[in-house]
Every structure is written in C-alpha cells, then in structure tokens.
Amino acid sequence: MAGLPSYPSGSPRWLLAELTYRCPLQCPYCSNPVDYAQHQDELSTEAWCRVFSEARALGAVQLGLSGGEPLIRKDLSALVAHARELGYYTNLITSGYGLTEERIAELKSSGLDHIQISIQAPEKTLNDKLAGTESFEQKKAVARLIKAQGYPMVLCVVIHRQNIHLMNEILEMATALGADYLELANTQYYGWAHLNRDQLMPTRAQFETAEAIAQAYKEKVKGQMKIYYVVPDYYEDRPKPCMNGWGTTFLTVAPDGLALPCHEARILPGLDCPNVQDFSIKEIWEESPAFNHFRHFDWMEEPCKSCPEKIKDFGGCRCQAYLLTGNMKATDPVCSKSPLHHTVEEAIDLAEQDRVSGEPKPLIFRNSGNSKTLG
C-alpha cells in the first residue's frame, strides 16, 4: 500500500555456520552463549552439507564458518569443498591458533576464499592473558603463513578497555604483519562480553581518542590497508539496524543445529528457535514463528511504533533490548528516545566505577568450567 513504510522482504544472503562451541582460547569478550557447555551436540558433516545446500537454494551466497574455533572440526576442508562447489563465497573466521602451513594449503585446495584471524592485543603478555592461553607468537607466525599462501591478511582485533589504550600499537602491529584488511571491532556486549561488561567497556574519552587515532591512520594507509572500524553503539544516540532487519538477510546455525535469526537469539525467552534437524531451511526461514517474530513492525511498542525512523533501524537490537531492560520488545535503550535510555548510562557508570575503584573485578574467562557454573 502506498505511503506505508514497507518492511524489506527477502531470502537469506548470509549464512553463519557456527561449527562448534569448542575453542582452545578463553576470551572474556566472547559472544558465544554463557551456557555453551550445555549445548555440546554438534551437527554431522552430512547435516551441515544439507544446511549449506538448502540455504544456497534459497539464495544464501556468503558463508561464514566460525565457532568457537572452526579449525577443531576435522571435516572443515570437506565442508569448505562442498560449500565452494555450491557457489558460496567461503569465509573462515578463526582465532588462527593451531593453524599450520599444511592445513592452510589443504583449505586452499578445497576452495576456501578467505581467512580472517584475530589477535587479542599487540603485545605478548596482554594477548596471552586475554586469550587465556599462550598464543601470541604462534598467531603472528600464522598471519605470515596465510600471506605466504597467497591469501590477503585479514586481521581482526576486538577493542575494549583492556586494550583500547594500545590503539597505536595495534595499528603498527597490523602494518608489521602486512595486514591487507584490519577490522577494529569494538566489543558488543553479548554473551561473555555482557558478563564482563564493567571490566571491558571503555570510557567515552578513551573511545574518542582511540577512534581519532584509528581514523587518522586509516587515511595514512589508504590504498595499502583497508581499515573497518566498528563503532560501539553505547555512545551513539540511535541503535544499529540490527541484522539489517530481523529475518531479512541473516541466518545463523549454531553447533547443535539451532537456527537463529541473529547469533545471540538463543537468549531470547520463548522464541523457541527451530532446529535444522527437524525442519528444512525453507520451512524455517518462511514459516517458523521465531523467524517471523520480529519481522514487520506490528510487534513494536512505543516509542518505536509511531516513530518515522523505524524503517531505518527496526527499533534496534532485540537481544540488547532484552539484556538491558528485560523486555525483548522494548525500544533498544541505546536510542535516546527510549524511556529506558538511562539503563545504558547506568551501564557506562558501572564500568567507570570499576575502572576507578583501584580494585577492578576479575575477568571471567570463557571456558567450560565457568560455563557450567554460570550457564
């Protein structure tokens, strides 16, 4: 109907396959669910191949292979080969830890299009502390191996209060490693990062200084290194258009086969996400209540309901709304129009108190022990 805002309808373009929750590292900002240890089942090779085929038939073309640590799956190359044959652009999203020259060569001959590795910090002590595992030197060696095999070096560094003061050093490290792409991803507070938010959230001043340094560097290395800077939305006054609209573009499949409209959606109460072992991807995408839950605008509450900006940001992130307000239908409190916007300011205050207390709370590392206790 003319004049009414229309909700984008579409088929999945992006499939994120979280192949496993197993991981040798223990990053306290990990976005995996805190209770991941309760979801240890993993889809078989055949089941993943079927998921890839069915999603491809619906129109998915970008495939992210992540986890946990996807390298732990022994069938990774077989999965890559199947996906590549289907015409996916295959992205391996790994910590890089444990990657060898032979494995890179094997993945390459299976048709892997691109590898992204992540480093926690630009120096050994902090990197190894944040990863919970000695891994710095090995990761730097892997970065070089990836380049030596003819892949561009795509490096991701997650930014938070423990490393944001090292922005200059991070940029220098990326240059020294010959990075072609650098993703500076400000932490998003889900999963373990939410648990450790007080210790991870930078102050506004820290964030602004770091951003200025990164933007200046971006200009300087233009043409040699592409820098993607992912802004933290806590310091914005409008939320992100989460997932480009619920159920319009993105499909995540968790290690146990749960199909999620957003990789955090497992936490939303009563959403009852379907499992790929029970339904086809087409049924899940088109008919499941979970994928239809936040499609369109009918579910919205005020102020989003009557806000003209809803076609731009879809009311923001459902998981963030739930984590901060306890109501998954609420306006994302990042929005300055939200009556609960103060919950964001309170979160910022709590982080500041932790920072100036002189006795910061200890970080809770992402591992099975902690997951079993806290999950």
Binding site: S11, R13, A57, L58, G59, V61, Q62, G64, G87, Y89, N91, D113, H114, Q116, P152, V154, Y181, K226
Partner: protein, 90 residues
C-alpha cells in the same frame, strides 16, 4: 588514468558470479557483496585482464548495437577502481 590501452582485472579475492535466485550478477569479496545491475555486470565481465579499455568499449557498443557508450563505461570502470573491485594491470 584510463587510456585506450589500459587493461583491468578483478582484484584478488573478488569474484563476479551469476546468482540464479536473484537473477543477477553479484560481486563477492571477503564478508561482503554488491548486487550489480545489468550494464555494470556487462562491463565488469569484460575486466578479465585480456581486453584493453578501447576493446571493451567496442565490444559493448557492438553488443548493444549503439555508439557513444565510452563516457558511461569510463565512469563505471573508474567507480569500480575506486571501490577496489578491479585493478589496473601493467
């Protein structure tokens, strides 16, 4: 500067692919993609490293049975260069 003899190739890691479900070509790259309209796809298909710019113009003018496409093609090729989809070949 784009000259008659300039040749172009897709940048490393970029892939031009026909998408049956979308009935159009897309340009794929690490963690991203661009959906291309018909003319853009026709031009980018010719950036295969073998053709010079003037060959591309001639090929497209023949294919579409028209003249005077040069400046439109140049504009698109320049934009593709600026986006990093294609590179100049020596």
């Amino acid at each position: 500067m784009i000259q008659d003899t300039t040749r172009f190739g897709l940048s490393p890691l970029y892939r031009l692919q026909w998408e049956e479900s979308q009935q159009r070509f897309v340009m794929l790259y690490p963690e991203g993609m661009v959906e291309l309209n018909g003319p853009a796809a026709e031009i980018l298909k010719l950036c295969d490293g073998t053709r010079s710019f003037i060959d591309m113009v001639n090929a497209l003018e023949t294919a579409f049975d028209t003249k005077g496409l040069r400046s439109d093609i140049e504009e698109l090729v320049q934009a593709a260069l600026d986006h990093g989809w294609i590179t100049l070949l020596p």
